[in-house]
């Protein structure tokens, strides 16, 4: 699964995405070395979700290239085999645990479907693998056989993580995957993600607006503002010593002990443009 020669497992170059007149992503480039974790930091409208969707093929870039595990994925897949191969290269865990699982499928059935998609294994081998995966994400036997409606948000996210891991991806994109969880559950899932990384050597791309989570889970970070990269570097450096004014503002807005909110006393601060 991991690249042996140190070449980036994921690389984006000159990514651009337009939605009609709106340029959502402009000239974004980054690369992810094997076994490392990259954060894409931004607020709403920064283009971070669009980038995630382009990487997994849910959107097509207007221009630019995306390469995963050495294969180009800037254009739609040619064949079923191609499509499945891309699924084994990059997987994704979405933000909302309440809509990212089919409400009619148990955790076991969900994982089984993915296994059948990628491997021609007999039933007992699949069963064994399902048990391994549910164990890895911390679900017990009863929870694995339960429908999503009987599971809490944190448990559903574990199922979503197991489903993504069933494809044995090289890169796992976490699209605000812990944002909707309670603080105490978020900590459990963050620990879990670190454990999974240690055990499977998967590389993470973490899409998040939460700087503390970014600090905890990633090595490198790029900061997006209105579709462009305004800063990049090692996560610790970007957060401790931000150079770009937007990154500085972002950092200064995070509540912490002793923090007092300050309004930006700029002229015309109230003249915000209309939405859409």
């Amino acid at each position: 699964m991991p690249e042996a020669n140190g070449a980036p497992v994921l690389e984006a170059a000159g990514l651009r995405k337009e939605f009609g007149d709106l340029v959502a992503v402009e000239d974004v480039s980054f690369h992810l070395p094997p076994g490392r974790s990259l954060a894409i930091v931004g607020e709403s409208g920064s283009g971070k979700t669009t980038i995630a969707r382009m990487i997994v093929g849910l959107e097509r870039p207007t221009s630019g290239t995306i390469t995963a595990c050495g294969h180009d994925r800037s254009r739609p897949p040619n064949s079923t085999r191609d499509r499945r191969r891309r699924g084994r290269e990059v997987q994704i865990v979405f933000q909302d645990p309440y809509t990212s699982l089919d409400p009619r499928q148990t955790a076991e059935a969900t994982i089984d479907e993915v296994l059948r998609l990628h491997h021609g294994w007999p039933a007992d081998r699949r069963r064994a693998r399902i048990a391994e995966l549910t164990d890895l994400v911390g679900l017990d036997a009863r929870q694995s056989r339960a429908l999503p409606r009987s599971l809490s948000g944190g448990q559903r996210q574990r199922v979503a993580i197991a489903r993504a891991l069933a494809a044995e991806p090289t890169v796992l994109i976490l699209d605000e995957s812990v944002a909707a969880l309670d603080v105490s559950i978020q900590a459990q899932v963050l620990n879990l993600l670190a454990d999974i990384r240690d055990e499977t050597h998967v590389s993470y791309i973490l899409i998040s607006h939460d700087l503390a989570v970014v600090r905890q889970l990633t090595d490198e970070a790029i900061v997006l503002h209105r579709g462009t990269v305004v800063e990049r570097g090692p996560t610790a450096r970007v957060l401790d010593d931000p150079q770009d004014p937007y990154t500085q503002r972002l950092r200064a807005s995070v509540p912490r002990p002793g923090w007092k909110p300050r309004s930006r006393a700029q002229p015309g601060a109230g003249k915000e443009p209309d939405a859409s």
């Binding site: 607020e43 709403s44 809490s152 948000g153 944190g154 309670d182 603080v183 105490s184 559950i185 978020q186 900590a187 459990q188 963050l190 620990n191 670190a194 607006h209 939460d210 700087l211 503390a212 989570v213 600090r215 905890q216 610790a236 957060l239 401790d240 503002r249 972002l250 950092r251 200064a252 807005s253 995070v254 509540p255 912490r256 002990p257 923090w259 007092k260 909110p261 300050r262 309004s263 930006r264 006393a265 015309g268 601060a269 109230g270 003249k271 915000e272 209309d274 939405a275 859409s276």
Partner: protein, 347 residues
């Protein structure tokens, strides 16, 4: 806008009195959940003094939103309420009709998702002036003038234009600022803010928090600020109340809460959060998951199953609130564990 131009009108007639503005005493709420009556709040008591900002912090099932709804008389049909809620000495539960509408002019509420609470087919101006015109009989032109004024206070300069717009033309942050402005138009004495910034970007959140803080001080407004974020509450609230499983587990001065908590849950919650300034080898996660009031075992401390400091005493009865060093804690071992909650837990 961040400095008060003038101190402004202090609305509360009794602003300088020390009698509490809001007094919740022994509030217990039971809801009908699939045919059975389940407790969502258990014996909640808190006070808010005029001009005071109190934070209410908790996770899912803690009952923090339910408390605010109970105070604003927004509980679902069929809810059974025990205990009392007194506003300015009067029983809130007994209000109805015109008295209830007057009460709602004095106690305003803002919610997490402004879009869910605005009618998309009505203009901002109509929505903002409705309460003034209908309930307080203010003439339309005067109401609009006040609305534009208030929009300036929340940092929206082109108020007249905004009044003619529809909600879908605004971003989330702007709409939330409009909601705050609308809530303040009736000159309330208490503001209930239910996670008003949770759905906003962090930079927008900082803006809105600054506005809220500034306005509150200008107008001498009391506030109950509900959030899941301990540090956010501490930023603008003098006192913080922590809730778990429908009960209050700690009340403490916000400045002291992080460094010197009195209840293991507060300490665990603060410790579970990743630190923006450093990477921990492993986060100190709390095992299990947050419980609702009706899921908590009836005769023991609700947090006992997840608590690193739990002993047999904790599992023998529901602990009472004890006063300790200016704060309150619902922990039987509070005095014993004093000053040791921040350390790694003992076996």
């Amino acid at each position: 806008m961040n400095e008060p131009a003038a101190v402004g009108t202090l609305w509360s007639a009794g602003a300088t009195s020390s009698a509490p503005l809001l007094e919740v005493d022994g509030l217990t709420v039971l809801l009908d959940v699939s045919g059975a009556k389940r407790a969502v709040l258990r014996d909640v008591s808190l006070t808010v003094s005029p001009g005071e900002a109190v934070g209410l912090v908790g996770e899912s099932g803690s009952g923090k939103s339910m408390t605010a709804r109970a105070i604003d008389r927004l509980l679902p049909r069929g809810a059974e309420v025990q205990g009392s809620i007194l506003f300015d000495g009067g029983d809130v539960g007994a209000l109805s009709g015109a008295d209830l509408r007057r009460y709602r002019n004095q106690v305003a509420m803002i919610f997490q998702d402004p879009r869910a609470h605005t009618n998309p087919v009505r203009r901002i101006g109509d929505f903002m002036t409705e309460a003034l015109c209908t309930n307080l009989g203010v003439p339309a032109a005067e109401a609009r003038r006040r609305a534009v004024d208030m929009l300036t206070q929340v940092g929206i300069e082109d108020g007249a234009r905004r009044l003619r717009q529809y909600p879908h033309q605004m971003s989330g942050g702007m709409l939330q600022r409009i909601m705050i402005a609308a809530a303040l138009l009736t000159k309330p004495r208490l503001l209930l803010a239910d996670e008003p910034t949770t759905a906003l970007d962090v930079t927008t959140q900082a803006e809105v928090m600054a506005i809220l803080d500034g306005l509150r001080r200008n107008f001498g407004l009391a506030m109950l600020f509900i959030t899941h974020d301990l540090e956010l509450a501490a930023a603008i609230c003098d006192r913080t109340v922590v809730m778990y499983a429908g009960q209050i587990v700690e009340v403490r001065a916000s400045a002291l809460l992080h460094g010197d908590p009195l209840h293991p849950y507060t300490a665990a919650l603060a410790a579970a959060r990743p630190d923006i300034a450093q990477t921990a080898d492993r986060l100190r996660a709390i095992p299990g998951r947050p419980l609702s009031a009706f899921e908590a075992p009836p005769a023991e401390c609700a947090f006992a199953t997840r608590c690193a400091h739990a002993t047999d005493i904790c599992r023998s009865a529901v602990p009472d609130l004890v006063d300790l060093d200016g704060g309150t804690s619902r922990c039987v071992r509070a005095r014993e564990l004093r000053g040791r909650l921040q350390e790694a837990p003992d076996a």
